[in-house]
């Protein structure tokens, strides 16, 4: 029983990170109808920027204050993501208003390659560390409840808290602020939004920036746990079933979907994996999402699609 709950909690923690990446997808899809495959590359890019800026700032400060160095790096990486958002809007999205979904999807694949190339050219292609002072040692909990207790990483716990906080903030942002409302209007219809005077271009920069910051947070958490390396870019592929499960347009969907997929992956790997040779995490997540799709084509929380004639 203790082991089961440990796996469960491990899954929830991993799921929180998937949620973060999925959130980036949802934000951009909601506001521009673009299915942004580059979200994974953005995580990599942001994490690379963070790791290197922190390293450089730390060296410049003489290694005296890790906190200050990290703060500078965070601001720097945030500014970098703003630059990315600006470039993407200025040179790509602006020229593709009202194109078809498939074309936009392909474009973001192109952006993925560019980001991966540029990121590694500027920041290098080694494995880097991000040290934001997260506690590494695990703690034993509920020892009196189960035999052997449950082992939990403090780091995971903090990460989950940060992710939850971010989700809360974004929900408020979308529902309560004028910018959030404008974003939702843009999502419904580009041209209609333009015609009532919503500055589409600025909105897109904002939303890509927000997605960039979400990517940055995801990158920091992930990077501090496993190191920053190229494989971070593939996290997009891990987060896709999450979005599908939760619904492409739903922020809560991204969260719940992430948790379900995180838990499902871990449990399936632990309990089914050994029977079939292991390594089933990835496709299990996809098949899980697929099964949900067959019953609810719009995902768990997506808006119902009605065909009109």
């Amino acid at each position: 029983m203790g082991f089961f709950i440990e796996t469960l909690i491990g899954g929830l923690m991993a799921g929180m990170l998937y949620s973060l990446v999925a959130l980036g997808f949802v934000l951009i899809f909601k506001s521009s109808g673009v299915f942004n495959f580059a979200q994974g590359a953005m995580v990599l890019f942001a994490a690379l920027a963070m790791a290197r800026f922190s390293e450089w700032a730390n060296a410049a400060l003489g290694g005296n204050s890790l906190f200050l160095a990290n703060l500078i790096a965070f601001v720097g990486a945030g500014a970098t993501m703003w630059l990315v958002a600006w470039v993407v809007e200025r040179f790509v999205l602006r020229k593709l208003v009202n194109q078809e979904g498939a074309t936009l999807l392909m474009v973001t694949l192109g952006i993925t390659y560019v980001l991966e190339g540029v990121g590694q050219t500027i920041f290098g292609s080694e494995i880097y560390n991000i040290d934001v002072g997260m506690p590494k040692e695990p703690v034993m909990m509920f020892e009196n409840l189960f035999e052997g207790g449950i082992l939990i990483n403090k780091e995971d716990f903090i990460a989950a808290l940060i992710a939850a906080l971010l989700v809360g903030l974004l929900t408020l942002f979308f529902q309560k602020t004028p910018v959030g409302r404008a974003l939702r209007a843009v999502a419904d219809d580009h041209q209609a939004a333009l015609s009532i005077g919503i500055p589409l271009n600025r909105i897109w920069v904002i939303v890509w920036l927000v997605a960039g910051v979400v990517a940055l947070v995801a990158g920091i958490i992930w990077g501090s746990k496993l190191g920053v390396q190229f494989s971070l870019a593939t996290v997009a592929l891990r987060a896709l079933p999450v979005v599908i499960l939760g619904g492409l347009t739903s922020v809560p969907g991204a969260i719940v979907g992430g948790l379900i997929i995180g838990v499902g992956e871990k449990l399936s790997e632990v309990y089914i994996g050994p029977m079939v040779g292991g390594g089933i995490e990835i496709w299990f997540a996809y098949v899980l999402a697929l099964v949900v799709l067959l019953f609810r084509p719009q995902g768990l929380f997506g808006e119902k699609i009605i065909n009109r004639v």
Partner: protein, 358 residues
């Protein structure tokens, strides 16, 4: 001779429904095919065959298959690589497990197996569409990646996980030199291109396009969505599966599941989008573009660096390749979202009127 259709009158509907209704088009394409069969084997060197021509032909075939599904039937797939893998591994198993199985038989059976998988993974398309479907097809991709890596039966319990095929021969014709491999692939691609063209101009092709353009209206005039979509998945997967088998048997010789990874799926989708959705020609143009570009960059960038007196490391070259490749994709999609084939069509339309455009 000017590019004109003047004086080419058609007196029967049969004549009007030929593949090429303009005589110049027909002669031009026949000329290219003749050139490809007769002249190219004498002109090209081994590197040309191995690095460019054979991959180009096989990937054209796969792109053609993807185009039937994505371009003609409007169902996005990100799992084409998986169907190549199914084709390759199925053909391999047919070849080694059944005594006396002829090569072409194995290739086609590989394609048929892939078609079956296509139908299976096409079922979600009956419920979901667009991007949801695209992600659903990724399920096929990751499942196949896993299956061919972990289930040892598929790889005939090979210890390294890679499988290999040697001694290709058809009716006593031993295919071992690059030129012979090239001709073998060329034969396939010509036949399949004609088949694709025929299907797209017949009722089945119209049903696919109707589903793509307006699925509700298509259903209202009596097209069964299930039949139209699943047949598109089946035919597309058949093409892709045969291409996969050729890729394994003829191009690679021995291969691992990584040869058919999700990157391959993206690559195929790039080909049809850059080449032109819903265009047979576009599949070829797109395949040529995607095959040649990296080779070109790989040669060109160090040369350029040398010219400027810079030494460019291999890592830098590979990063620059990513950047340029990505930018070009973005660029092409912005300039001509309908693909390179559209540029060709526009040029042809202008040419028909040239030099008097009004």
């Amino acid at each position: 001779m000017l590019y004109r259709e003047n004086g080419q009158f058609k007196t029967t509907y049969a004549a009007d429904q030929q593949i090429f209704t303009i005589a110049q088009d027909k002669w031009f394409v026949l000329g290219i095919v003749a050139f490809a069969f007769l002249a190219v084997p004498m002109l090209a060197d081994e590197y040309m065959f191995r690095a460019i021509l054979i991959p180009f032909l096989i990937l054209s075939l796969a792109a053609l298959g993807v185009n039937l599904l994505v371009g003609y039937c409007g169902q996005i797939t990100l799992g084409a690589g998986a169907f190549m893998a199914v084709g390759a591994y199925a053909a391999y198993n047919f070849l080694i497990r059944i005594d006396g199985m002829p090569l072409i038989g194995a290739l086609l059976l590989g394609g048929l197996t892939s078609a079956g998988m296509g139908i299976l993974f096409g079922i979600p398309s009956l419920r979901v569409r667009g991007l949801y479907l695209a992600v659903a097809t990724l399920a096929a991709q990751f499942f196949c990646d896993w299956a061919f890596l972990r289930i040892k039966w598929f790889t005939n319990d090979s210890s390294s996980g890679s499988v290999s095929v040697s001694d290709l021969s058809v009716f006593g014709w031993v295919i071992d030199s690059p030129a012979e491999k090239y001709l073998f692939c060329l034969g396939f691609i010509v036949v399949f291109a004609v088949i694709a063209k025929n299907m797209t101009r017949a009722t089945i092709g119209r049903q696919w396009m109707a589903i793509r353009d307006m699925d509700v209206a298509a259903e209202v005039i009596g097209i069964r969505p299930m039949y139209a979509k699943l047949s598109a998945f089946a035919v597309s997967s058949f093409f892709v599966g045969v291409a996969g088998a050729l890729w394994g048997f003829v191009h690679l010789g021995s291969w691992e599941p990584a040869a058919f990874s999700v990157d391959r799926s993206f690559q195929l989708l790039f080909m049809v989008i850059i080449g032109g959705l819903g265009s047979i020609l576009g599949s070829f143009v797109g395949a040529a573009f995607i095959v040649i570009l990296p080779i070109f960059l790989n040669q060109f960038l160090p040369a350029l660096g040398g010219l400027l007196g810079l030494h460019i490391s291999t890592a830098a070259v590979s990063h620059a390749e990513l950047i340029i490749f990505g930018s070009l994709i973005v660029f092409f999609l912005i300039v001509e979202p309908h693909g390179l084939a559209r540029l060709w069509a526009i040029a042809k339309e202008k040419l028909r009127l040239w030099p008097f455009p009004h």
